[in-house]
Symmetry: C2
Subunit: 433 residues, 2 copies
Amino acid sequence: MSEKVEFEEHINPNLQNLAPSATLNINEYCDRLQQEGRDIIKLGLGQSPFPVPDPIVEELQKHAEKKFYPRARGILELREAIANRYRSRLGHDCSADDVLIGPGSKELMFILQMAYRDPLLIPTPTWVTYAPQARMLGKQIHTIDTSFEDKWHITPEKLEEFCETSEQKNHLLILNYPSNPTGLSLPHEHLKEIAEIARRHAMIILSDEIYARTHHRKGEHESIVKYYPEGTIFSSGLSKWCGAGGWRLGAFVFPEELRWLNNTMTSAISEISSGTCTPVQYAAIESFQDRDYIEEYTDHTRRVLGSLGGYLSDMLKRSGADITRPDGGFYLFPDFSPLKDKLHSHGIRSSEQMCERILAETDTAILPGSEFLRPPDEFTARVAYVDFDGEQALDASKDTHPASKKLNAEFLKIYCARTVEGVKRICDWMKKD
Amino acid sequence: MSEKVEFEEHINPNLQNLAPSATLNINEYCDRLQQEGRDIIKLGLGQSPFPVPDPIVEELQKHAEKKFYPRARGILELREAIANRYRSRLGHDCSADDVLIGPGSKELMFILQMAYRDPLLIPTPTWVTYAPQARMLGKQIHTIDTSFEDKWHITPEKLEEFCETSEQKNHLLILNYPSNPTGLSLPHEHLKEIAEIARRHAMIILSDEIYARTHHRKGEHESIVKYYPEGTIFSSGLSKWCGAGGWRLGAFVFPEELRWLNNTMTSAISEISSGTCTPVQYAAIESFQDRDYIEEYTDHTRRVLGSLGGYLSDMLKRSGADITRPDGGFYLFPDFSPLKDKLHSHGIRSSEQMCERILAETDTAILPGSEFLRPPDEFTARVAYVDFDGEQALDASKDTHPASKKLNAEFLKIYCARTVEGVKRICDWMKKD
């Protein structure tokens, strides 16, 4: 080039120093270590261990030849199926026009953050992606720190206090329950009070309920939509309960009051992605139907996850961590702060150093609490308890009676062996001098 | 709400007044008219009429059960397949590390425009989406107008003149050839000269070659990568030549010099979409192999499109339009300016009014030149000549010998009947008093 330029100077400042998503990155890093011959127990990426139910896979096969461009907001049949389910489950009136399909709820969240200009408000610990999306868009981020004592819940008191002292209003508040990274869900009375505060301060709530159908106690999940229907966007997808993370399909349901936001996002989708993979949309219709095999699938996945989560949580507690048994999903968020002195004595000053040492010395990958916006020197970490053969575990659970009872330690040591072993390694590492 | 707010005020200013993508929108509008009982000939949306080749559909079926999250940059096997093809076809050294997969090249272009902060530079007429993407991102847009006399090509002279007078440099120049909306491709000598200018002014070129494999004359497509390898990003996908628009898969190939941009985009993808549908990625591997059935498929699709394009182009010319026979793709870009006086006498003052009247009076949908950033009062329009049963036409072409010869009018009137009829209606409408 006659005029030599350093192209690196030409990156959008909001994207400079943007690191790859922490959860995807730990997964790729583990793959590299495994290629080097190390047998890593992967408790980093939160990927469902269970297979997609066969009848839903068959729908994808059946519709594979569908080649036409989808509508930007999604194919009508899928939006109708979601609206039907939403009406019957949440008792909330809505139609296909209120539903927006995306290639994963993650992308819909990015487009929402782009379309809605007011600041983001998130409790911490928080899912790894909400804040980086906001940073990429040059959007303001406000956080409310929660605590182990409050079971990592955002409390109505803390939210009210934030609103009273904040100079800005109309925040986009994202609530994720059951929560990634804590596995804990918001108590119903909290939902009610948070809804009232959000209404009073004219916030929009994005209710990220992607783990709803993994709630460990059947029928206990409740949505804040019930209490703040006019200001809440409901978000879900196939990645977690249905095991189809790689298929990339998510959905938002808007109240009629937010139709303008739905429409703006639809226009944005038409210019960004054109819409979501047509065959996957057709396959997804089946996943929103009432089917016995889906009930059976979710009954047994919730039993495996609930039993395992409780068992591992107890193990971690005995090793000295602050931890509460999870309500849903497949995450634990132990706080090893009670072992602070010991960790310090080993030269470990941050959750990042703690997780690096655990990986180096026990071949077990977990993510530090700092990735979830907790203070770097707080010894929290996320354990995604998913490194086991979900198909085997699911089949074995179906053979284990009665279906209402928890699975015992023997079952878990056989069918979730690697995950149990990984958490045992962490506990042993914590106990050693 | 105790404090009533107009939420509409809270849209990102860059997205206010964002209309849905013109091409997707005309398609949805036609669907609505058809639901009202009107039989619309759809020459609006540029969707390949041909089916996805069976062996590629079978690959999607075979990999339907693949459920794991893909790598953000795409699965290795697909990136290797693309690198192999790129090396053998363009003689350009590259590896899987230089390839980036996205859910459509459209989304990759959006992320590129977000990641690279310098202004966008596009010749007009231009594809409908480049500029709206830039506007959504608050990015500067510069245009260079081309003319029918220059076959709607950006000429080296015009580019040089722009560069000499522009206060900014390091533009992202997007070239799309064969072109949507003109169907014309850049002459090889232009490519060479444009490459030299781009190098001298330290531009990045995005070479959008999504129609390359539809070039009507086999082997004639040439890439600017050959002349400006260190500054060109090659872009392609399955939507056009392979008929899989609804599958949403595209790819970029970067030179090693732009690895920093590839890496920044990969991080952005990991936070926006997580990556591209895993089963579709596995299916796409097959489409980048050297296969006899793919050669046969592209030979016959190019024969149908080339024969039809020439035939329709001649029809439009006879009706009084300025037009050149297309080189590739499935678009025509007639300029009815020679009929200006007649159009004016009917009260038609813009390409938009012209297309509205054609739709209202002939039930034939085409898009006005203004959507492609041409002046509103220039009577240009894009005809997407795709409203026919591609599977039938493909089979019939395979039965028509010799394969090297153009298909005659009789063939086209049978197998591309609706499209021929649509263009005939436009011509008749133009001719009437």
